[in-house]
């Protein structure tokens, strides 16, 4: 059993453990763990001096950004290091003058293998070549969730010092814990069993997985596609038509399920299943910045429903409504809390079921950050041309569909683990996905 050798800065919350268990699962596949990325493509080189100063200020305000993730017994803590690693680094085109310099650098960073104790919770990278500049935030998932990254980015881009002080104030405890405190112990137990029944029901239908699981995972790759304004407008109108204003994500999930089904209708399994996280933060709140404050939900569609688009969307909408009506979203929280006291291996086996079994509840991972409100944002004197995000994935499913909307254009980032998937297959999948999204 390892002993802590440095000062504890912060303990992990139950939702952080959920992502840490996935980090562990990914690491057991000899992959880098739960690394995520958020990238801004810029029109020119930003003001590096000011950017660097702002990043240093961020580290001073949030010292956990320099921390090392260490284990004490079964628990994990962000601990102070003897020597802080710089948060910011620059990558300039030198030897690699290929058109792929930016993508290759992003891939190197997102596939970088480091021990859990050594890796920086977050790091900031400026990738520069003659005509292109990419700013990448890379983080390990237990450190924060996607909303947290959005807040960090806003912190960096807030020029007024007094406004920057508003981030993380009031200082809030983990929102997962705050939610759990609302329930009496017997209510927590009732919720726990409700969630167990929910998961058991989901697991009655084996998920359809397209990854070639006979192959050993080697690296994460990604394909980004930015749609035109016209395509985006048409898709937004289809969203309203098919799932209404309460189900934007469900439209993407449903279309992606149909696209996968069309790639190979004979694929083994009985249903498509996709997890989607919901945030416990209030929208527009500047606190809490760090840690994970999300619960998990699942969308599951039996194979038989995939051929009828309207039945499929109706099913997804009803399912989502039932989940919220029955409070199954919050039911998952006590399960995460209970599992956070187990070893990571047991946590995975209890909560993810599929852990190290070669199967998986999720047919793919999904994240939609929706319309970002950084469209008007100037990034240290540079205009932001486009954005995209990335995440390492367990294998299976070895596939993630990530979407966002920026400047009235949708960007899809298809993340996949090679060689379980390959780029040509993903290109075909995107063609079909686009047909599905644009279908009236």
């Amino acid at each position: 059993m390892k002993k802590l050798d440095s000062t504890i800065l912060q303990a992990l919350n139950p939702s952080d453990y959920f992502t840490l268990a996935m980090d562990d699962e990914i690491r057991r596949e000899n992959m880098p763990g739960s690394l995520c990325g958020f990238a801004l493509e810029l029109d020119k080189e930003p003001d590096i001096e000011t950017l660097q100063a702002r990043i240093i200020e961020f580290g001073e305000r949030f010292p956990v950004a320099y921390a090392s993730l260490q284990q004490q017994g079964k628990r994990f803590f962000w601990c102070q290091r003897e020597q802080n690693t710089p948060l910011f680094s620059q990558h300039r085109e030198s030897g690699d003058k290929s058109a792929d310099f930016h993508k290759n650098t992003v891939l190197d960073l997102i596939n970088q293998k480091q021990a859990r104790e050594d890796i920086s919770p977050i790091s900031f990278h400026l990738i520069s070549s003659a005509n292109k500049h990419t700013f990448l935030l890379r983080w390990v998932h237990p450190f924060c969730d996607a909303r947290g990254i959005d807040l960090i980015l806003k912190f960096l881009c807030t020029n007024e010092a007094d406004q920057r002080l508003k981030f993380n104030f009031p200082e809030l405890d983990s929102l997962v814990n705050l939610q759990l405190e609302k329930y009496k112990w017997w209510q927590k137990i009732a919720l726990f069993f409700k969630a167990k029944r929910y998961i058991t029901k989901l697991d009655q239908l084996p998920s359809i997985i397209h990854a070639d699981t006979t192959k050993t995972p080697k690296q994460l790759n990604f394909t980004n596609v930015t749609l035109t304004n016209e395509q985006t407008t048409r898709i937004n109108s289809n969203v309203r038509k098919h799932v209404g204003m309460t189900g934007t994500s469900l439209y993407y999930i449903g279309c992606f399920m149909r696209a996968l089904h069309r790639m190979d209708p004979t694929q083994k399994g009985e249903a498509y299943c996709a997890p989607y996280a919901f945030s416990l933060r209030k929208n527009k709140a500047l606190s809490p910045v760090l840690a994970n404050h999300v619960g998990a939900l699942f969308a599951q569609v039996p194979k038989a429903l995939l051929n009828d688009r309207s039945a499929l969307f109706q099913h997804l909408k009803n399912e989502n409504m039932q989940v919220i009506r029955k409070k199954l979203d919050y039911a998952f929280l006590p399960v995460m809390w209970a599992a956070s006291w187990l070893s990571l291996e047991k946590h995975g086996k209890e909560l993810r079921k599929s852990y190290a079994s070669g199967t998986e509840r999720s047919s793919f991972w999904f994240s939609d950050i929706g319309k970002t409100d950084i469209s008007e944002m100037v990034f240290f004197d540079s205009k932001i041309n486009s954005i995209f995000h990335l995440c390492q994935i367990t294998s299976p499913p070895a596939l993630a569909f990530l979407s966002c909307q920026f400047n009235n254009r949708l960007t899809f980032s298809y993340n996949f683990i090679e060689p379980l998937f390959h780029a040509q297959w993903i290109d075909q999948l995107h063609e079909i996905m686009l047909e599905e999204l644009l279908m009236e």
């Binding site: 189900g247 934007t248 409504m321 919220i324």
Partner: protein
């Protein structure tokens, strides 16, 4: 023809206050909620699709109404006044 029992002014004020509390406690952050008027735009303030879903479930549970799916529209949820009018239409 069926009659719709009218809510008293006090009941309406209480209903609106409960909806305000739920939105500001659970769904969106507004620095000074007391300054957020009944005609200010909730969607611009950050009420998103998941939030609307939760809000509808809350209203249905709290006030015993069923809000038809087909009427979930920005015009019915974008302000407190719009929400109130929509709920009252179905409060029978």
């Amino acid at each position: 023809m069926h009659t719709i029992p009218l809510l008293s002014q006090t009941q309406k004020v209480l209903m609106k206050q409960k909806i305000r509390d739920f939105i500001f406690d659970e769904l969106i952050f507004v620095a000074e909620p007391e300054k957020f008027s009944d005609d200010d735009d909730l969607l611009e303030a950050g009420l998103d699709s998941m939030g609307i879903m939760r809000l509808i479930m809350f209203i249905e549970e709290q006030f015993g109404v069923t809000l038809p799916d087909s009427e979930i529209d920005p015009d019915n949820v974008n302000t407190f006044n719009a929400l109130e009018a929509w709920v009252l239409q179905h409060k029978s």
